[in-house]
């Protein structure tokens, strides 16, 4: 009884701000913009945006993987530090999040631009300027930069909790450091990897600002298209349909990721048996 009561505030919150809005998204996605009658036309037109959906998914998957590659060693390192240093480093990781996301992206623009800081510097050295901005790479950079803390923090909290005695046991039983890592640490940190990947992938795939500022006219992401439908084109129905499809695609991607986690856990259990 008591437990249920504790969930009450969040349930009210969720119904008001998640369930009801989702219902509205559904309603809009399947109605006509002019007449409000039921229609499948919005959904039927999704085919022409397939490349944009795919591009969004690929770019954000790629960013999530880069975040993992960068974030894992950092998280591992932090977890090895003294508790006081850990707290400081954790704070430093979160520090960029104290600044507006828009501001940070704009800062990247003025660094990467053709007339930006990096290229001006190169020109002063007498070198040819580099095409840094308005590429897929710049978009991925923006995503990685903005979402990296979401990868490091869950990884860190999971790695920190790994029992040191397990590592000692592995060493005692003749594991090389590499083996200890692949057989003990990596499987035990799998839940952190998964939640990190999800926490980077999900906001990255629906982002709309990064690609507008750092990308070119050829790196439009689905978030940009959805934004334009609500902001300028006044076609909330098409926008809602896109959001719905995007949501389904995200669910599919995340559930596949979770399946990887499950199979890893199972093999682990089998190995123990």
């Amino acid at each position: 009884m008591k437990n249920k009561l504790l969930a009450c505030p969040y349930i009210v919150w969720m119904v008001l701000f998640t369930i009801i809005p989702l219902g509205i998204v559904f309603y809009y996605a399947f109605t006509d913009s002019g007449t409000g009658a039921f229609t499948l036309a919005n959904m039927a037109s999704m085919g022409s945006y397939l490349p944009i959906f795919l591009r969004s998914i690929w770019l954000s998957l790629f960013s999530a993987l880069i975040c993992l590659l960068i974030g894992y060693p950092v998280a591992y390192f932090i977890a090895q530090c003294k508790p006081s240093t850990q707290r400081l480093l954790e704070l430093l990781i979160m520090l960029p999040m104290c600044m507006s996301f828009l501001l940070r992206t704009l800062a990247w623009v003025s660094m990467l631009e053709d007339t930006g800081i990096i290229n001006t510097f190169l020109r002063h050295l007498g070198l040819a300027p580099l095409p840094l901005i308005r590429t897929n790479g710049a978009v991925i950079l923006g995503m990685v930069y903005n979402y990296l803390p979401y990868m490091i923090l869950p990884l860190y909290s999971v790695i920190m909790k790994i029992d040191n005695r397990l590592l000692e046991a592995a060493r005692d039983l003749g594991c090389t450091p590499v083996n200890t890592f692949t057989k003990v640490i990596l499987p035990l940190s799998a839940p952190g990897i998964l939640s990190g990947l999800t926490m980077v992938f999900v906001p990255a795939v629906s982002t709309f600002y990064i690609s507008q500022k750092l990308g070119s006219t050829g790196t439009t992401l689905i978030g940009d298209v959805i934004e334009s439908q609500f902001k300028t084109a006044y076609n909330p129905n098409l926008g809602a349909a896109m959001s719905l499809v995007l949501m389904i695609l995200i669910f599919i991607c995340v559930s596949i990721m979770n399946r990887f986690g499950e199979s890893e856990e199972e093999t682990e259990v089998i190995a123990k048996v």
Partner: protein, 397 residues
Amino acid sequence: MKKRLFSLMLALLLLVCALPVPVSAAQETITVFNWGQYISDGTDDSLDVLAAFTEATGIKVNYLTFDSNESMYTKLKTGGATYDVIIPSDYMIGKLIAEDMLEPLDFSNIPNYQYIDDAFRGQAYDPEDRYSVPYTWGTVGLIYNTNYVSDADAESWACLWNAKYAGKILMFNNPRDAFAIGESMLGYSFNTEDRSELKDTADLLSLQKDLLQAYVMDQIFGMMERGEAWVAPYYAGDYLTMAEENPDLAFSYPVEGFNIFIDAMCIPKGCQNKAGAEAFINFLCDPEICAANLEYLGYSAPESAAKEYLDEELAASPVAYPDDETLARSASFNSLSLDTTQYMDDLWLSVKTSGANTTLYLILTIAAVLLVGLFFLISNIRKKRKKAQRCRKWKTA
């Protein structure tokens, strides 16, 4: 107990919702919704028009901006906010009148309307002059950086399709202005409702997409001033503002023709303070205020009386006040039918989303799906084998 908590939560929520509306009866306010960078705001020794208005009338101005007629329309349509004065362009005013979204003005509250020139009265978008009072007029032309772009190239809109300037070209981020450029290249009317002509225009615009740096509106100021982009179509008045920051910028009226527009002040339905709004419109029509405002904006005055107060250089500028021979190439926008607007929006979206490397992404995706499938298949087979092994071991044991 549960009920009480629930009602408490609800009460709290209502309280939170109610908080950000501190209605102060003491001071009268109006909400003005205008284009970005479109009023003299006191920087660079200019007149702070809004402050001057508050000083003159005691009415406080809540000032908000939009970056295209379309986004202004969307904001009005989605509701949630009320505005007392909006300043859209001609074709959008026609659309708003047709959709019954504007309040007729009470001209007895706007005596300064007498200064508006006859040439700017009785326009096609508001033939009886019931809903709008002209704010400024202007033209669209090609802004280019003389360090990189030759004057000869800049005489034509084709400059925006010139591969020489790839990656340094900007384009309008709104369908009506973008289509107008394509239409003048193809020799079509700006107001064509012919679907095949519109389709041709969209095809021409998609050809340009890979050469572009970006589709922009207000961001154009910084990009052109810094030299990040070299050539862009934009409003003549804004060119004058940009040229003050970067003297290398030049302006041309392309030979194919260009758009001439009037931005006018209107009061949307649902306005909260109509008298205040009319006082604001009246204030902006005052020739002295109008001149001070346009001095900063660089746009052109719809009232000759204001020209007397204008800086001579601006009043004689061929960019702000092109000669009749140049103006003969210009044409204005009419509001299009709802169907055509919708069709244009669809085409515009397809232009902006076209040309993606579909095959590459498809191949990658199919490969990924196959790999994931294979992974699960193998791990399943392995699991089964191990299970069988264990069963056998258990049996033999």
